[in-house]
Symmetry: C2
Subunit: 227 residues, 2 copies
DNA sequence: CGTAAACTTGAAATATTTCAACAAGCGTGG
DNA sequence: CCACGCTTGTTGAAATATTTCAAGTTTACG
């Protein structure tokens, strides 16, 4: 319930209202690495990240999993589409120990109907995601691999980076070359080449379980054109 | 007002309710070729296509316009994002003589708050678009140009194709190679090569102002893998 | 009809993937 | 605690798809 009050969608509701909503939502804790749901399974519930990080990956026709996004507290997932879709398109798993709220579809719809303010906020969120997704589509093919990798890193930095002042932005996430390749729609080898170059140039640094952005403005330039 | 009743979002409302909504919406007619709004301009209104076709195009940093989508009656546009965004991301123009309904942002929000059912339908629509956009992003770079062109054609056929029975599906839209190149994120030349091949194979046929899909299943196979 | 725009086709240039081999980091079990 | 082995990352070189550039051809429209 304390968790509930922190979810952006429910901001500004009275404690009484929050309590009524709380009673209709279930809370679940997921140890690191647990699968929350698999792509293709029936999408009966809608989830909100309350705490932790959730990894969303897309499963291709051939069965390979590629990272689609990493969600942080307050983000909605699970069947956006739940708003009408019957099956999950992504596989969701907890990247670190994570806590989620969940609500089944019909109840969620009731809730939205009762609280127009919440519905509007959800709508805003979904619309914003749509806008971002469309922008993504825009840049995808025209851009070079370097641009796409830079864009992916910047997006992650924005979401889950620890700014360490003069020493750059630290991403404490196990982010394999394959994961990045997924986000940037490329191959692990190509990503590796780009990252190696940037490491030589002092733009980034990385280990197995972390990535640091040392020269943010340079990376931003890379994202735009071959800065 | 008759138009209003045909917009999917307002389905199932009583005539009295429709009338109340109607009073808050303005109707505008756009001759073919007119610009409805330009990318970057302030997004104060939200539009619904009542009649005709609206062309949405994305304007790149360098000023080149690429086709993003073609909308038909019932589709919402104009600031999806209007739900929070301040500027249009696309340029919209009437492809044929077109009629739109428009409503300003605050009024639309009021309307949604008053009619939870409408809000849910809008949410469903936006969520579905999001899902499709994400799917698009998925296939974009991994796929070959042929796959992307096939996908674009199929999507258009689904939306605005005239099924002519045994003689295929006709797309009566002026669809230049550049337009298709935009949708498929490629170049006019590459699109031309692919289409030429398909014409030789009897999969499609095309003139300046129309395109026909003769072998739908073949095109569907092309969209998946190099069928 | 003539002209301009759009389309087609070819060939060279380029970016990226693929294949392959090697190096390095990390956990595990001795 | 160290060494082994496995996974992951790196780098090179060849293969490939696509873009780019350029020239010719068709089409529509004044």
């Amino acid at each position: 319930m304390a968790v509930l009050a922190r979810v952006p969608y429910f901001q500004g509701l009275s404690p009484a209202e929050l309590d009524r909503i709380d009673r209709r939502m279930a809370t679940t804790s997921w140890p690191a690495g647990t699968h929350i749901f698999h792509a293709g399974s029936a999408a009966g519930h809608l989830y909100v990240v309350a705490e932790g990080r959730v990894k969303l990956s897309q499963v291709s026709a051939t069965g390979t999993e590629t990272l689609a996004d990493i969600l942080v507290a307050g983000e909605l997932f699970g069947g956006m589409g739940t708003l009408g879709q019957s099956a999950h398109r992504h596989t969701a798993s907890a990247l670190v120990p994570t806590c989620t709220l969940q609500i089944d579809q019909p109840t969620f719809r009731e809730l939205l109907a009762e609280h127009p303010g919440v519905a509007l906020r959800v709508l805003d969120d979904v619309a914003e995601r749509l806008a971002r997704a469309q922008d993504d589509v825009g840049g995808q093919v025209t851009d070079t691999v370097a641009q796409r990798v830079a864009t992916a890193l910047l997006r992650l930095a924005d979401k889950l980076g620890n700014d360490r002042g003069g020493r750059g932005i630290l991403l404490e996430v196990p982010l394999s070359r394959s994961d990045l390749a997924g986000l940037a729609r490329s191959t692990p080898e190509s990503v590796s080449r780009v990252m190696s170059q940037w490491r030589r140039d002092g733009v980034i640094d990385s280990g197995r379980r972390w990535t640091a952005i040392l020269d943010l403005s340079r990376l931003e330039r890379e994202a735009l054109g071959a800065g």
